[in-house]
Subunit: 370 residues, 4 copies
Amino acid sequence: MLGLTVDGRESPVEGGESRDPRPGSRVPVAILGATGTVGQVLVSRLATHPWFKPVALVASSATAGRKYADAVRWRLPGPIPADAAGLETRDTPPTDVPLVFSALSAQLSAEVEPQLAAQGVTVVSNASTHRMLADVPLVIPEVNAGHLALLEQQRQRWPGAIITNPNCVTAALAVALAPLHRALGLERLVISTMQAASGAGYPGVPSLDLLGNVVPFIEGEEEKIPRELNKLLGTLSDDGITPAGIRVSVHANRVPVVDGHLMTVSAGFRRPATAADVSQVLHEWRAPAIAGELPSTPAHPLLLHSLRDRPQPRLDCALGEGMTVSVGRIRDCAVLDVQFAVLGHNLVRGAAGAAVQLGELCAVRCALSA
Amino acid sequence: MLGLTVDGRESPVEGGESRDPRPGSRVPVAILGATGTVGQVLVSRLATHPWFKPVALVASSATAGRKYADAVRWRLPGPIPADAAGLETRDTPPTDVPLVFSALSAQLSAEVEPQLAAQGVTVVSNASTHRMLADVPLVIPEVNAGHLALLEQQRQRWPGAIITNPNCVTAALAVALAPLHRALGLERLVISTMQAASGAGYPGVPSLDLLGNVVPFIEGEEEKIPRELNKLLGTLSDDGITPAGIRVSVHANRVPVVDGHLMTVSAGFRRPATAADVSQVLHEWRAPAIAGELPSTPAHPLLLHSLRDRPQPRLDCALGEGMTVSVGRIRDCAVLDVQFAVLGHNLVRGAAGAAVQLGELCAVRCALSA
Amino acid sequence: MLGLTVDGRESPVEGGESRDPRPGSRVPVAILGATGTVGQVLVSRLATHPWFKPVALVASSATAGRKYADAVRWRLPGPIPADAAGLETRDTPPTDVPLVFSALSAQLSAEVEPQLAAQGVTVVSNASTHRMLADVPLVIPEVNAGHLALLEQQRQRWPGAIITNPNCVTAALAVALAPLHRALGLERLVISTMQAASGAGYPGVPSLDLLGNVVPFIEGEEEKIPRELNKLLGTLSDDGITPAGIRVSVHANRVPVVDGHLMTVSAGFRRPATAADVSQVLHEWRAPAIAGELPSTPAHPLLLHSLRDRPQPRLDCALGEGMTVSVGRIRDCAVLDVQFAVLGHNLVRGAAGAAVQLGELCAVRCALSA
Amino acid sequence: MLGLTVDGRESPVEGGESRDPRPGSRVPVAILGATGTVGQVLVSRLATHPWFKPVALVASSATAGRKYADAVRWRLPGPIPADAAGLETRDTPPTDVPLVFSALSAQLSAEVEPQLAAQGVTVVSNASTHRMLADVPLVIPEVNAGHLALLEQQRQRWPGAIITNPNCVTAALAVALAPLHRALGLERLVISTMQAASGAGYPGVPSLDLLGNVVPFIEGEEEKIPRELNKLLGTLSDDGITPAGIRVSVHANRVPVVDGHLMTVSAGFRRPATAADVSQVLHEWRAPAIAGELPSTPAHPLLLHSLRDRPQPRLDCALGEGMTVSVGRIRDCAVLDVQFAVLGHNLVRGAAGAAVQLGELCAVRCALSA
């Protein structure tokens, strides 16, 4: 649960283990968009989850009624988890489960998620649709678990809840930047991303666009990252979230990498800060206790690399079962204060893993009921 | 010879044609490091050059005495130019040619190039060794042809000359940034590079490092770019070059692309400037007349892309036979003033093409003699 | 026009030049499916064609009425040819041009091409739809130009004509195998393909399927190749084409390559033959005179590589402007007689270039009329 | 321990677990060539091995005396195992361990391995050097464990032993082909390989050779595979191994894949056989009991895929922790009898995993002594 400095030789204990399993049987959950790229990772990570048990897999009506194994074009290494393989997919979400994980598209989530919340279901959503609404928590347990309190406001709308995880780039960035913001006061960020193909889902980016090529544009990405980052790092009061007020400039690029978003960051602080300051803050950072109670929180949410050519997506994005965010190459910046590289697994820390971890936070903090 | 706005539909006249061939026969030239990656591009581009004729190919002693076709592991598409194929490689450079193109390593260039200059030869060098010396011109004809005047100082050292082109990233950047610096006064630059494999030569980067991966580090690159850029954009006076004084921060990354370095740039100016200002300056820019006289100068040294997902390395780096620098995605920056993407062919605009063009400038401006 | 042995040093004259331009003005032609991957290559190759002039670009009704530059997502290096860029796309093919190049899908070609033939138009089709019909010529000018005589039978159906080029793998294979079949009598072929992404069109293969991966299956490919190859190498009589009767086994694989299909071939002959026999036959082969009259026929339709690690798709597929088929690694086979590798550019020799060359053959052999 | 038919939905129990741990403490072992690509996988797999404990890591004299963590350029995902990280590398192999795993180059293995055997050490070698010697066992536990009896002959030479695993392609092929040979009598094989970059070690293949490209040649590979396959499938008698006598033709290709060699195979049998016969044989195959006792033997040494586009290297090569060989696309062949695709993890099933499993076989069958 600490920011550990590694140089390839230390052996961080990886993989969150269940530390506080809910007593009794696993909570039944549903997965919306279960056949998509993020949906498959949800199915895979929930199959053996200590607290949750997938009982309903929801996909398009085209595949409704077919077993999941027949409905999905499975793209993950290894076989489909046996329990999921045999489940019949359905095209309408169940309302008799207390918790639903949504990997729906923006369009569908706008329609479906409020309906579920209105019927008392807690929805953890990976969609961007509701993230910026004033009464919808946008939360990373290691960063801003307290923002879950926004649900009190949301409860005025409906008996259920919509809770969201950030987009895939923001998720990794926020884990690295939150300690810096708390300690040093972030003011300005110039970010250039090198994002993996899996971030666009399947079929996603045509191979003719990406083989031996870089595409210097990703729809909507450069707008989402600044606003989500500022909400995540914002402060909660009775009036809701006050955004952090960091000026953020983003260049979003797609590169021929399968998994793992790599970002270069130049950061300016309220007070002048050096690479040594940044290293020390990240090194001394400890995740809040609440995050440590969640099975999906890795032993090291944040890993500092000392090898000068790391982190690299193919070698490092799966650390901590994909939940560890890597930081490397911390050095002084000639324009702002400090520059460095950040890497996170877009499908895990940036999507499915984040959603599951958020569901765990709900299970600990909220009363889930069917 | 103009900065043209294109959206994929206009048809810039590509390829510099000989506009002012030296009267009479072609000047005999030698190529040092002729079997390497940059050397091969030099051989290829000089084979049909209107002004120059390669008469000596210099490589390591291991291959000396063998025909070039037997000495080289040819890596370019298409066959070896017939004239070059039959030349015997030699391991010592000739001193009876007026002009030598050097694609030597830093170590070898430190040894060999001064010896040649001392014997009256003009050396156009792609090596980084001498670039930053006070009396060595670092020149891009479209950017700072006037800096060639430094040779007057250098002539105090020896009868010959060493003239250098910048490193592969700087070359592309400078073509795009010089007009902006002249018009708006560059003050700060945050640059993140996505550099192609061919920039590291052959064998260069192991495939295991680059397949489906990004390496966020390139030895020496982050130091070279700021100092070369500031020399290129600096001002010449009797005291030599005064650097431009731009604060430059670089993140250098290697990506799985064959040819073409792509850079994201956030730029801050002395006076506040907008994306519209930058677009207008680049649009109205005209290359100086002297550049237009050189066969290697493309019809459009600078091309503005209006398609939102361009420039892309695989699609755009060969424009203008590799000498055109592409700029795209010009937009306001939330931290500095304006942000955009720049692309250049690292082996052509960033190395061999730059050297040939610089040799042409020498042919026009200097008295080449054997 | 000969099978030349090269080792990277000889300089084959590349690019078919106009040898027998039709007198007078260029023949007006239309392109069907002009916005697709093959359609774009047709537009590109016909823009400067000496005999043909594209006057109509046909695409889906979604883009009808828009200028081609606005209708197409241009994917080729370099800008859209200026003449084409300004043409309005239309959704119905013209019937007042004598010659139409069709890059339609199988489904659309089944519908549209007979209608055009019925109205007297000559259609050169890249679609697989009509290739195997008894009265439809399937022709490669260097291989079986005589099969064009099938049109006499087809004329009983309609005043126009449908003429087809083979699929992308077969096209390259047939150029290499035809001389061997004529000289030595092919009996058995075991072929394993490594096919480029562009063979599947755009968007085609998702990048998640192809980055760092091989897909050992391509729909329909293993069936098409044997039957098309046997028709191409078959004999024409009054009864039509008698297939060659070669037993052909194909393993079709998709590899992460942009352009260029590479095939390994093990061949068994009627009489025992050795690698030396195969080399000699290919070396001595000369394209038939009729092929030599066509602008698209390259100087070397067939190129023998002597370097032991060639041909390679990225380095060799663009030889002869994409029309040259490469053969390498000819050696004795422990199971059949001889084994070797064959490479061809799938979009050019295997699609658009083949169609244009076939159109040229029609222009020479048939009376094109509107 | 059975050949299981899967279609992506069944859940084979993966990973060999210790079933018969040697009583008492782990056997001390040394690793030769510990810093190379295969050496790193050996270090990784032996770190937590139930029977063996690495006590000596041997590398070149350049790194001798440095801790392994400082001596190695670690290329595997995740950190260096802690025990190994702290070991000092040495440049001479120890002779006081009973078992040594060698990942030496051919040249070094020729020198070092006999010296160790002469001093009583049992050497499990991944090098090709000794594989074909008459008294050296070339063994895959699932295929020909009985060939270990050759050691009786070898003991006449020295008190120790040299035992070898096959090359990376042969290893995967033999697991799939052995059951077919036993049941149906293999007579002829035409094989085309698509081999991963990691098969060439590090730095290995330059990225410029492999990005978006295929290299249709791998030094020595086409000779090794036939002779090793015939020895592995040969019969043991008092006179040693009689090779299987299968005629084997190989086309070896390098493709831009990180890990996992994929082979297309056309097979001819003594008696005519069909795809159905081959499927049945593979489906019914059970690994011999002795293999089942070894921790490295996976639950499914052989996996039959029913999805038509599998196996794929990136998705399937890590099945069974890299020890499972995948077979797919079994269908009748128009030239020989049956054709199909075979995939294996070249670094695991084809190198380090094979060596460890072979060491386990020695531990069970031989008396290991120091």
